[in-house]
């Protein structure tokens, strides 16, 4: 049986081809200032599709390894810093950025609000598509780096845009063994175009208000990254959270649809908005990730 070719297939094939033809030119340097008694911190730099030079933080536990790995995908914000997690003591943790974020802004500097609609008039100019290439590149660079012995499970995590990037990446990289996706950004789904949403999705509303009659064109451009369409290809276990009253990142109707489309999804819905369960879910996520990474829960 052959599966029907989707419009998004050409999008992903183009990204994979661009990545394949780009020398990653990976550079890794230990950061003595931010290294800790239990783990070393490294600054990584590598090149992604289109020649964008990207930055990532990498932490490596002391000891020979091998270690499981956790890759935190970037949020929708200019800063993606060295977020603390106790998992750093026992797993390699990478915090990757996408083009436009701080330290990855040599060619394009993201604006907030602004990035969500930058170049959205055409699929050829939409800046944020590059973030999906950068997310794939991040997983590949985690495997390619030489300072840590990574072997065993590789889990992805992220919130908002980072959650959507994590799911899209897991769909393209079967070696990913688990995804913890907090309130995935509805970008690409029609729910993102509803009126009356808060930022960041409200950026789309701003654009549509200023460019009347462009809704179907915007919908068409974004459709290739609809998380619901990509979801069936995510074969690993997924932990997903959403907030019942979220009207800015992951509206509940979208989250419901996405959870149903994911083959193996544990879906948790909490009171509140885009914080998606906040502290309570953070505890659930930490334990879930530790188990998937084969680490003891302390």
């Amino acid at each position: 049986m052959t599966s029907e070719r989707q419009p998004s297939d050409a999008f992903w094939e183009r990204i994979e081809a661009q990545l394949a033809e780009t020398d990653p030119d990976i550079e890794i340097e230990r950061d003595a200032f931010y290294s800790q008694p239990e783990w070393d911190v490294f600054q990584m730099r590598y090149t992604s599709a289109g020649g964008h030079r990207l930055f990532a933080w990498l932490s490596v536990p002391h000891g020979a390894g091998p270690f499981p790995a956790l890759l935190r995908m970037p949020d929708y914000a200019s800063v993606h810093d060295i977020i603390y997690t106790p998992l750093r003591e026992r797993a390699v943790v990478m915090n990757a950025t996408h083009r436009g974020q701080r330290k990855s802004d040599g060619q394009v500097r993201a604006r907030y609000p602004g990035l969500l609609t930058d170049g959205i008039g055409s699929a050829d100019t939409y800046t944020l598509f590059g973030a999906y290439a950068d997310a794939l590149r991040a997983v590949d660079m985690l495997n390619a780096q030489h300072v840590a012995n990574v072997s065993g499970p590789v889990a992805l995590t992220g919130a908002g845009l980072g959650a959507s990037l994590a799911l899209a990446t897991a769909a393209r990289r079967p070696a990913v063994s688990a995804v913890a996706a907090d309130t995935p950004l509805a970008l690409g789904h029609t729910a993102a175009l509803e009126p009356g949403l808060g930022y960041p999705l409200a950026e789309l509303g701003d654009y549509l208000r200023a460019n009347s009659g462009s809704e179907s064109a915007v919908e068409s451009v974004l459709s290739v990254i609809d998380p619901v369409s990509t979801a069936p290809a995510v074969r690993c276990p997924v932990l997903m959270s959403a907030g019942r009253s979220d009207r800015s990142v992951c509206p509940l109707a979208f989250a419901d649809e996405l959870a149903k489309a994911l083959p193996d999804c544990e879906f948790r819905v909490y009171d509140g908005g885009a914080e998606g369960g906040g502290h309570v879910h953070a505890q659930v996520r930490g334990a879930w990730l530790a188990e998937r990474l084969g680490l003891e829960i302390s």
């Binding site: 003595a32 200032f33 931010y34 800790q36 914000a77 200019s78 800063v79 810093d81 060295i82 977020i83 603390y84 701080r102 330290k103 500097r109 604006r111 907030y112 609000p113 009356g196 949403l197 808060g198 930022y199 409200a202 509303g205 701003d206 654009y207 208000r209 200023a210 907030g243 009207r247 909490y270 009171d271 509140g272 908005g273 914080e275 906040g278 502290h279 309570v280 953070a282």
Partner: protein, 315 residues
């Protein structure tokens, strides 16, 4: 999880320098010498039926240009009450259009180091918290706090703003800056400080391993010989030393599971507040994520401002 007893039994070792007020009087005097040079450009893309949005800039300490989102009610010419909204450590300044429907203006400041106020000063995140910490006159937060004070000057310079009705709020770093700015600028009539950062630096460094406070611990490990000097500088920038100087009504919101700003340290600032005060405790909540907080902050400010009767818009 912290308990109320933990909060009450906590005692900070932070003391106030004898020349604390002199230092900040000098900063304010230096700031007055800098022309405000305010600009205000309409942003039709971000404006809505209820809110006219502007991209504002003004000059602050050392002549740096500071950016801010300035949202005015779409209806009327004022004078409007105004909220000075102060930013978190690494987050973007919030574009708050939701107050327009209430007839309230909001100035949301991108303090130095933040995009797009980073052209002349950009230590990064991590980086800001230790930038220039060797001395009170070189410390980044001397400028950051000045940028917040200058936000008040911007509002006072606007004919559409009611100078008698300026309020302040923010969360995390924005909470700490709300406390500090309210102490330094008596024009602020009331404030809400959520999950306040910048409280009890030495204890916060010891109690947590998370950033941003861990930046200070990294500095301590890298330069042990300069630790005393660093802690000496931080006394001039610790919100607990500003708290007794706050005379306006102030709320402090604390998440009891806060893993970024220890609840005990926020409470230490609350306990020292010099005016009418109110405490909100959020059990089973972490940093910045108490479900009830946004609605509670809004309701409290609406009541203080006197605009609590009409329905708010979503955006």
């Amino acid at each position: 999880m912290a308990t109320k007893a933990d909060l009450e039994s906590f005692v900070t070792n932070v003391t106030c320098p004898d020349d604390f007020d002199d230092f900040w009087d000098e900063v304010k005097a230096d700031l007055r010498k800098v022309p405000l040079d305010a600009t205000c450009e309409a942003d039709p893309l971000r404006s809505t039926d209820s809110s006219r949005v502007f991209q504002a800039t003004y000059r602050s300490l050392d002549g740096l240009e500071i950016f801010a989102w300035y949202a005015l009610p779409a209806e009327g010419n004022g004078p409007f009450p105004a909220i000075l909204h102060l930013p978190g450590y690494k987050s973007e300044p919030a574009l708050r259009r939701d107050w327009g429907v209430k007839g309230v203006a909001v100035l949301s400041v991108a303090v130095r180091g933040k995009l797009p106020s980073s052209r002349e000063f950009n230590p990064g995140y991590p980086g800001l918290l230790t930038s220039g910490v060797e001395h009170r006159d070189t410390y980044s937060y001397k400028g950051v706090i000045s940028d917040c004070m200058r936000g008040v000057d911007f509002l006072l310079s606007r004919p559409e703003i009611d100078a008698e009705r300026i309020y302040c709020c923010g969360s995390s770093q924005g909470g700490g800056l709300t406390l500090i700015t309210s102490a330094l600028r008596p024009e602020i009539k009331a404030g809400v400080a959520g999950y306040p950062f910048l409280c009890c630096y030495p204890e916060s460094m010891r109690m947590l391993r998370s950033y941003p406070y861990d930046e200070l611990s990294c500095y301590q490990r890298a330069y042990p010989e300069k630790t005393a000097q660093m802690l000496g500088t931080l006394r001039y920038f610790d919100a607990v030393n500003f708290a007794p100087r706050i005379k306006c009504p102030m709320v402090v919101g604390i998440a009891m599971e806060d893993e970024v700003c220890p609840p005990e340290t926020s409470y230490a600032a609350y306990r020292l507040l010099g005016g009418e005060r109110e405490l909100w405790l959020f059990p089973e909540s972490g940093h910045g994520n108490a479900h009830e907080y946004p609605a509670r902050e809004r309701a409290w400010l609406e009541e203080r401002i006197g605009v609590g009767d009409t329905q708010a818009a979503t955006t």
